[in-house]
């Protein structure tokens, strides 16, 4: 694999000829491509389609929550007569929508599409490599992701409905078709889809790690890597450590469901009979699930942090503040993320002493998170901020990350968790801190690297409209949600008005749904901008944002091997913006140090 890359580097001339002689066919160029730039576009477009489905589902169930059991033609049209007779959403499909919305957004959009797109695009380009360590595995990884997406979508069409035990699929609910309709073939497809997804994720992550370690260009030491690469690298490491645990949980659950084992089940009486299961524990499943599930939220947020760090520095025309502190905090977050999973389980019935330990580790994570937030704020201090849409989304990211992160102090404290556990307070918290924030990171990345991906610019005015409406609506949906959570409203309730206790929360629910519908509708602006600009956008210049990193030294036209001629060598760190002693306000990494020029950062 590495020898291949080596060859690329050496026999560039031959390589070039080679391309001219053997034109890529449509299939090898657009479908089974092994070029990381094409694979990244494939990830992005698949992810956007999954995102449309996931966000669309949330709009449907938000309507049900605001106007419970009212009839909407759209429900009947989309869900059919069985799940929305006369346009009234049934409780089965409500739970299914919630479950699949969570699954799609967490795994298929924010894990695969975010990390898959930008790791693939940026790792080779920013470290100065011709391609990933293994282009073939990279291709396999994408196609496994595509397969798992198809399986997940197909589960929407099985007779008893898709998985509906919540995205955390806690057994016994997820294991017993008698307990809920969605735990039949819908859940089987969910588990198969996730198993394939995990395989895809692992192949991708291994590739990223190997590439970052082995294929950096000359002069690109680890402490000269852009923070994007650090974030992708550590994300991949966490993924490799934690995803296999989910795979084993899924396999054991499949065993329990199909082969009568009792890993997670015990003493169950359902539908008038005692089942044979004996000795298993649902709490074991919770441990296994959250051993991935918690690192997963950092798998989602770290790449967004990396993208935002890079975009903020570029658009502030200032070095990122505290480069080494940023790396240290990424490492600290990565380490701590693997030992805090129990804070999802304070109320699970595990020994309260464990709860104490997990409270301690969980609140520790606030420290590196705070360091990062302060560093971003200091980065824009005394900058010369270029308010491109990507920069707006980066600022929005820091804002929602702080707002959402602060309530984590409540949820991470086992004592306070007693009364807000599994209420809408949790929903508000994690949507702001990892959902909205990671989406902002993804949007920032798309606006920023679109010229690199498609050779054209996105329309900035549409970008501004998209940002402002999205950001107002995001706060509009999730800020009031804290209040109804603190009022004790449990999540995953099909209606909140079945008994009078929560009647006074209904107006708030209507308001949130309004914001959600408007915010969701305005994503059409983004979609229009994205797809029309592929064909009609303004052609870009090579380095539109006047950025220092290596990807902007590569030609606009995508070629195999990224650079014509030799790969640029690196002579400085990636954040020499507005460095005193230079005429331009940025000095790209491949420019050698001037005579007598000093390194001004530590």
């Amino acid at each position: 694999m590495s020898s291949e890359a080596h060859d690329h580097a050496h026999d560039h001339a031959h390589d070039h000829d080679h391309e001219h002689h053997h034109k890529d066919t449509f299939v090898t160029k657009y479908i089974f491509s092994i070029d990381h730039k094409m694979i990244s576009k494939q990830y992005l477009i698949t992810g956007i389609i999954m995102g449309i489905i996931g966000v669309g589902m949330s709009m449907l169930f938000r309507m049900q929550l605001a106007w419970p059991e009212e009839s909407f033609k759209i429900f009947n049209f989309l869900l059919g007569d069985k799940f929305a007779p006369n346009g009234v959403m049934t409780n089965d499909i409500y739970l299914a929508l919630v479950t699949i919305h969570g699954t799609i957004m967490v795994f298929f959009v924010l894990t695969a599409a975010l990390s898959g797109t930008f790791s693939n695009l940026l790792i080779p380009l920013q470290i100065g490599a011709r391609d990933m360590a293994s282009g073939f595995l990279n291709m396999v990884s994408y196609w496994l992701f595509f397969t798992s997406s198809c399986i997940m979508i197909s589960s929407l069409f099985v007779e008893a409905g898709p998985a509906s035990a919540g995205w955390t699929i806690y057994p016994p609910l997820s294991a017993l078709p008698q307990a809920i309709g969605g735990s039949g073939s819908g859940m089987t497809l969910w588990l198969v889809s996730m198993a394939v997804f995990i395989a895809s994720s692992l192949l991708g992550s291994l590739n990223y790690v190997v590439t970052v370690i082995n294929l950096r260009t000359k002069g690109m030491s680890m402490t000269r890597l852009p923070l994007t690469i650090w974030a992708f690298f550590i994300t991949a490491v966490i993924g490799i450590i934690s995803f296999p645990v989910l795979l084993s949980a899924a396999l054991l659950l499949i065993m329990d469901r199909s082969f009568g084992t009792s890993f997670f089940l015990s003493d169950i009486y359902i539908a008038g009979e005692v089942l044979h299961y004996q000795g298993g524990s649902p709490v074991l499943f919770e441990h296994l699930f959250w051993f991935l599930g918690h690192p997963e939220v950092y798998i989602v947020i770290l790449p967004a942090m990396g993208l935002v760090s890079e975009i903020m520095a570029t658009n502030s025309r200032k070095p990122i503040f505290g480069y080494r502190a940023m790396i240290m905090s990424i490492l600290a977050i990565a380490f701590l993320s693997t030992i805090v999973w129990g804070h999802h389980m304070f109320m699970s019935g595990m020994n309260p002493f464990l709860g104490s330990v997990f409270t301690f580790t969980t609140l520790l994570i606030a420290i590196p998170s705070a360091v990062k937030a302060f560093n971003w704020i200091t980065t824009i201090w005394k900058g010369n901020l270029q308010m491109n849409p990507a920069m707006l989304y980066s600022i929005g990211f820091v804002s929602t990350f702080i707002t959402g992160g602060l309530t984590g102090i409540i949820l991470g404290d086992s004592t306070l968790d007693i009364n807000v556990h599994d209420t809408y307070f949790v929903v508000a918290h994690f949507h702001l801190v990892m959902g909205i924030s990671a989406l902002y990171g993804m949007f920032a990345g798309i606006y920023h690297w679109y010229p690199k991906m498609f050779g054209r610019m996105l329309n900035k005015n549409m970008g501004y409209v998209h940002f402002w409406v999205t950001t107002v609506c995001a706060y509009g949906v999730f800020f009031p949600m804290h209040f109804i959570g603190l009022a004790g409203l449990p999540r995953r309730y099909y209606t909140n008005t079945n008994f009078p206790l929560f009647d006074d929360l209904q107006n708030v629910n209507v308001l949130m749904t309004m914001f959600a519908l408007v915010g969701g509708a305005f994503q059409l602006v983004f979609l229009y901008n994205f797809f029309s600009s592929i064909f009609f956008g303004k052609r870009t210049v090579q380095n539109p944002w006047r950025s220092t990193t290596l990807e902007w030294t590569a030609p606009i036209k995508h070629i195999h091997g990224n650079w014509e001629g030799e790969i640029p060598h690196v002579h400085r760190w990636p954040y020499d913006y507005s460095k005193p002693g230079h005429d331009e306000d940025f000095v790209p990494q491949h420019i050698p140090m001037k005579e007598g020029e000093e390194q001004l950062h530590h």
């Binding site: 009839s71 089965d92 739970l95 806690y170 016994p172 609910l173 307990a179 089940l265 003493d267 169950i268 009486y269 359902i270 298993g280 649902p282 502030s316 200032k318 109320m347 699970s348 019935g349 709860g355 104490s356 409270t359 609140l363 606030a366 200091t378 824009i380 201090w381 901020l385 491109n388 920069m391 707006l392 702080i402 102090i409 404290d413 004592t415 007693i418 009364n419 599994d422 610019m457 900035k460 501004y464 402002w468 409406v469 800020f479 209040f483 109804i484 603190l486 009022a487 309730y493 099909y494 909140n496 009078p500 009647d503 006074d504 303004k538 913006y577 507005s578 460095k579 306000d585 001004l600």
Partner: protein
């Protein structure tokens, strides 16, 4: 009608969008129309001001929310430990609002203040160890305080002393219904397992256990004020969670194991209903319900009942399609009323005997004996 409304909303949205794009286009007038799609000084200026405006939006929205929705939040706790929990919660909230106000202000103010201008040069400021040290250590110290307080409270709440004088009550969860079992005179619950479930013995109590004889099963939970209740929780099918928000109490019910939680109720239902905040809340809910009832009656449906406050035990772990409708009324009585209420309830032993007596004359073919045999086999397997 609804579809018309939806169409109108969509059309209006489209118009709004079109107009917004035009406004942003208009902001371009006067700047040299390079159309590079890269932010120019004009964009920086407009977006910088919008950033400042957004800071105002966050603050106003927060204040509006606190005034308008602050009253919805759970008020006076009705358990002895609730005060300590709420106290920690309030301390944490003060801290959160403090940090939130300052950091958001800095973020958006800087975004406004340092918006790009042609001749502005950014400061090359790459790192400062002192600053990093300060903002690592301050959160560390503050969090250490919160952790210590939190752990102290957690230990107080969760670790139940066996010597303590408590009333032992079992909460029993099944799709989609709660039951409670009182341990009776001996204050010890009889053994139970789903394999003993039969007829009226729907909780699977082992009738051979001497401690089980005086157990009482009810579907409405009554608790005496001023006495610590030790809840033991079981589930017969899937995960459930016993959530009693007014008591700041929650614990999952897990099939195959017994979980526990304990608290002491400090207000009776009646006292709670008489509190000023509660009367206000109930009046508000009833006003909403009256309005809704009027609509329902106009449509020819029956009106809603007026609401009177009651404590509720809610299911708070997704447990199936009717998860949203799984709750049990909790009544906190004075100790005397509680004793009177409990004394009237039959023991499970009596219930089983009565059921057997009424079944026996009708069916003498010995079927009960058969099923009893099958049952003991199941137990033997276990």
């Amino acid at each position: 009608m609804t579809s018309l409304l939806v169409i109108i909303v969509l059309v209006l949205l489209a118009i709004a969008l079109w107009q917004l794009t035009k406004i942003f286009d208009l902001t371009q007038v006067g700047s040299n129309a390079s159309n590079s799609q890269i932010a120019d000084d004009n964009d920086n200026n407009v977006q910088g001001y919008l950033m400042f405006g957004f800071l105002a939006f966050i603050y106003i929205f927060t204040i509006y929310g606190l005034i308008k929705w602050g009253g919805l939040v759970l008020h006076t706790p009705s358990s002895a430990h609730g005060g300590q929990l709420d106290n920690l919660m309030n301390i944490t909230w003060v801290l959160i609002f403090f940090v939130q106000t300052i950091t958001q202000a800095l973020l958006y103010y800087f975004a406004f203040k340092y918006r790009g201008k042609k001749d502005q040069k950014a400061l090359y400021f790459a790192d400062n160890n002192k600053l990093e040290f300060v903002w690592s250590v301050i959160p560390a110290i503050v969090l250490a305080g919160l952790i210590l307080y939190g752990l102290y409270a957690w230990t107080n709440i969760m670790f139940i002393d066996d010597d303590e004088d408590t009333i032992v009550v079992e909460l029993y969860a099944q799709q989609f219904k709660w039951s409670a079992r009182y341990s009776g005179e001996d204050n010890v619950l009889g053994k139970a397992n789903v394999r003993y479930i039969e007829g009226v013995n729907s909780l699977g109590v082992d009738m051979g256990d001497k401690y089980a004889q005086d157990d009482k099963v009810v579907t409405e939970l009554h608790l005496p004020k001023g006495k610590k209740i030790h809840f033991l929780m079981r589930s017969q099918d899937v995960l459930h969670s016993a959530y009693m928000p007014h008591f700041r109490a929650q614990m999952n019910c897990v099939p195959g194991m017994v979980t526990e939680f304990a608290f002491e109720p400090i207000h009776t239902t009646q006292e709670m209903r008489e509190m000023a905040f509660m009367q206000e809340k109930v009046a508000n809910i009833n006003a909403l319900r009256t309005k809704k009832s009027a609509e329902l009656v106009a449509k020819g449906e029956s009106a809603l009942d007026p609401y009177a406050f009651d404590f509720l035990l809610l299911c708070n772990k997704i447990c199936g399609t009717s998860h949203y409708n799984m709750q049990m009324k909790i009544v906190v009585d004075s100790p005397e009323d509680y004793k009177k209420w409990l004394a009237e309830k039959p023991t499970i032993a009596d219930e089983v005997k009565t059921a057997a007596a009424s079944a026996a004359p009708a069916d003498t073919s010995g079927k009960p004996a058969d099923s009893a045999k099958a049952d003991s086999k199941a137990v033997a397997v276990k």
